[in-house]
Symmetry: C2
């Protein structure tokens, strides 16, 4: 398996995964009716970086990385990860998240933040916790889950350089 | 004072306020170098609604209202408020926030969320608390403040219909 920048051809192969994840309405706060062109814009054009995990020409998963806010909030990045149904349980999300943290550090970010981790997505929460993310907030009924209705979401955060902010130059 | 939909002519009168608030880098996570056209898009075109408080043709303040996320996250709205320097201390922000809550309820939102209230902005925090907003999260060093450097930000939240979610029809 290799992780490389996502091309438009990669996204075309990834599209069935993207569509099924969004249509499931269990993990992502994207419009479930999002078409191909808007999805490509959202996943590959608006973010700063988009990478994918590939094996024998197959796209196993992908992530995007972008600033979580503009200007005085642009030192924290935000990422999203998706793994193809047939590739789950193989550590792809973990590999993608580790790759994204390296990339974020290279790009100068001080921290990484996930804004809406759905509270029923226990596998993801355990994974992010095992990778050092803390839950820094909880939004009551933040997500309208296809099966469970309104459920809470968590805000999760990881400082990327020891304590966030040490890279600003103010500490020795 | 009246609160009405913001026109492009209103925004032109409001522009010095917008520019000074963003350039101050003390409260908003917007690019401090944002030009007029991009600012207009951000404040008046991307949001679902934009209103302003006017008195004798002068624009005293403004707010936008938009969904805080898409699809399964679109039942929570997000707002931003700005008050002209010469109009501060007159309750304009409170009046705008009350107006935005009414509008949000009419538009079907279940809750309102502020994603990055700068922790040093004590007046705003007191105001939102007095209007029923709870602090539901804290982002360590989330904001690069012009005078104080990296400071925390708060996520603040208010259910708009008793407990958020009662409007979904699942409760009597």
């Amino acid at each position: 398996m290799q992780i490389a920048k996502m091309t438009e051809a990669d996204f075309r192969r990834f599209w069935p995964t993207f569509k099924s994840v969004v249509a499931a309405r269990e993990t992502y706060a994207f419009d479930p009716g999002l078409g191909y062109a808007d999805a490509y814009t959202l996943w590959c054009e608006l973010p700063q970086f988009t990478y994918c995990a590939k094996e024998n020409g197959e796209v196993l998963g992908s992530y995007y990385l972008k600033p979580n806010a503009a200007g005085p909030g642009a030192h924290i990045c935000n990422c999203g990860y998706m793994v193809a149904p047939q590739a789950r349980g193989r550590g792809i999300a973990r590999a993608l998240c580790l790759h994204s943290q390296e990339l974020a550090i290279e790009a100068g970010y001080l921290a990484m933040q996930f804004n809406a981790v759905v509270s029923t997505n226990e596998g993801a929460i355990r994974l992010w916790q095992s990778l050092g993310f803390d839950t820094i907030g909880r939004v009551p009924k933040g997500y309208d889950h296809a099966r469970f209705g309104l459920v809470d979401t968590y805000i999760m955060y990881k400082a990327l350089r020891g304590e966030a902010g040490n890279a600003s130059g103010s500490d020795p």
